[in-house]
């Protein structure tokens, strides 16, 4: 749906983006994360068509939109709904008036405009605040109105730049829910730029990690968590080594990542039965990525067939991340 190809951008000789390439499938949510100064904001501003990249392309449905001007540029901007960083609502307009702004620019006639605004207020759950001015709304409500405004002109892509940075955790949830609903109900492709891994945990299908203007990791969240070395797994999964393990009491110690209800619920009891091994969870824990339960456990195994048991877990789809104790080559 939207692809970013080899994007570069520098400011006064400092490279903010060093050839960034990204691909977001239609109807999915990509989280772009990274430390401060990694180039997240620059990337967001390029995608929002507020900044022109030095080279590279941004394609929406195959068409490069980086070099447009005039009315073609304005039309492309309507293709990309933007939730900007910070307070961005017109303070002299009501919530409904703010949402109507893109429709006015698109020349949508009054009656259709009003019904569309009504749909969007409904989508973000603020129908009763239609006539409220931004100063009468909470931070989370203002941000939801900003999301509704971004969606007003039926864009195919929704870009949210740090949509939750100024919000408390509770309010953050309500804003993320709205983003998720936009994807689910409108089928819009979402690109969220954030420093908060909690956003990735809650709503992202894919994640891209940006460091020093480069993408250093890009893939499906649920795939990346199975990769022991990935930044995504270390940021999102429960820590396993909070308590030092008495390794001498086990034949084998290994970390496994289990994804999904079936794996988390049934795999370990089954492997214990099948191979007649004693199997203890000695570290780690359970978390949730979106709707999917994901576990990272440190296992201690006792029994002759411990290696076979680990191998079987690996074949059954659990990522056996490393065998802390035992012959190399067992780990997947």
């Amino acid at each position: 749906m939207i692809t970013v190809e080899n994007l570069t951008k520098s400011f006064q000789g400092v490279n903010a983006l060093n050839g960034v390439t990204l691909d977001v499938q239609a109807g999915t949510v990509l989280g772009v994360v990274g430390p401060s100064g990694a180039g997240k904001s620059t990337l967001a501003r390029c995608v929002a068509l507020l900044e022109r990249p030095d080279s590279g392309a941004i394609r929406v449905d195959g068409t490069d939109i980086t070099s447009l001007d005039g009315s073609a540029l304005r039309a492309a901007r309507r293709q990309i709904g933007v939730v900007p960083q910070g307070d961005s609502l017109l303070r002299q307009r009501t919530a409904a008036g703010n949402i109507a702004l893109p429709l006015e620019s698109a020349g949508v006639p009054g009656p259709q405009r009003r019904s569309r605004v009504g749909e969007l207020l409904d989508l973000v759950g603020l129908t009763d605040k239609a006539g409220a001015y931004p100063d009468q709304l909470s931070g989370g409500q203002r941000q939801r109105i900003a999301v509704a405004r971004a969606l007003a002109a039926n864009p195919s892509v929704l870009l949210a730049d740090e949509p939750t940075s100024a919000l408390d955790p509770e309010t953050t949830g309500s804003v993320l829910t709205v983003l998720d609903r936009a994807r689910a109900e409108l089928g819009v492709t979402v690109l969220v730029v954030t420093h908060d891994m909690g956003v990735v945990r809650k709503i992202c299908d894919d994640v891209a990690v940006l460091e020093q203007g480069r993408v250093v990791e890009h893939g499906k969240v649920l795939d990346l968590v199975g990769d022991a070395g990935s930044r995504t797994s270390s940021a999102l999964l429960p820590a396993v080594d909070l308590n030092p393990v008495n390794e001498s009491s086990y034949d084998r110690v290994a970390d496994v990542v289990l994804v999904g209800f079936a794996a988390v619920g049934a795999l370990l009891p089954e492997v214990a039965n099948r191979f007649g091994v004693e199997l203890n969870i000695v570290g780690g824990g359970l978390t949730r990525l979106g709707e999917t339960p994901v576990a990272r456990f440190r296992l201690g195994l006792n029994g002759e067939r411990s290696d076979s048991a680990l191998e079987w877990i690996s074949e059954a789809g659990g990522a056996v991340q490393r065998s802390l104790k035992g012959p190399q080559g067992v780990a997947a």
Binding site: A75, R77, V82, P84, Q92, L101, A106, Y133
Partner: protein, 227 residues
């Protein structure tokens, strides 16, 4: 020793002079607003970080604006005589004063307007840009509408300033309250007229200022919190 001017005559004087002042100031304010707001918008559009940054245009515009603002009004009043004659067909009287008043006020309004528009937060302007709004739309719906309360106040400030300038209208026979105070009051040692005019000017400017403040507040949606 001449007896003091009867109060009924003082009132007649004041009414006539107030009419002249309001006429001169009112018409020139309208002209200065109609022409000064676009100047301010243009200044802000071409400024660094504006919607259409253009250093060269901005510098020329700034120079002309500041030149206009630094000109003492009484100099402008006499210097523009030939221009005034061209526009209104004469160079004396209240109508003739309107030309230099308006000319003097345009750069004044322009600079005020630019300062006010520059206060609109960049995030808000950029958000509007991303909706695909045209520059004209952003100027109207974002820059001007968002700063309307401040703009209304600025027009109020302009009116008060023009009342001050119009005191010099007497130089070219324009009349008005300032002229009344100087010519009938001060120069003819008529304390009653002088001080009545001063008091009336104080009342008049206060009422005008109050009116603009009210209007500005009525146009502002920001203070209506917690309804």
């Amino acid at each position: 020793m001449r007896s003091a001017t009867p109060w009924s005559d003082v009132v007649t004087y004041l009414v006539e002079a107030t009419g002249e002042t309001l006429y001169m100031v009112g018409v020139s304010t309208v002209i200065a607003t109609v022409l000064g707001v676009p100047v301010g918008v243009w200044l802000q559009l071409t400024a660094k970080g504006g919607l259409r940054p253009n250093a060269a245009v901005h510098r020329v515009l700034s120079f002309v604006t500041d030149l206009g603002r630094s000109m003492p009004f009484i100099v402008l009043l006499v210097a523009l005589t030939s221009v005034t004659r061209l526009i209104v067909g004469g160079s004396i009287g209240s109508t003739a004063v309107i030309v230099p008043l308006a000319v003097g006020a345009i750069p004044f309004v322009g600079r005020l307007v630019q300062n006010i528009l520059s206060e609109v937060h960049v995030t808000v302007v950029e958000a509007a840009i991303t909706t695909g709004a045209s520059t004209l739309k952003i100027v109207r719906s974002v820059l001007i509408r968002e700063s309307l309360p401040a703009l209304i106040n600025a027009i109020g400030v302009t009116v008060i300033a023009l009342i001050g300038y119009s005191a010099m209208a007497g130089v070219i026979g324009g009349g008005g309250l300032g002229d009344l105070a100087i010519r009938e009051g001060y120069q003819r040692f008529n304390d009653r007229i002088l001080w009545s005019t001063v008091a009336w000017l104080a009342v008049l400017t206060t009422v005008i200022q109050l009116g603009f403040t009210r209007a500005a507040r009525a146009s502002d949606r920001r203070r209506h919190a917690s309804v």
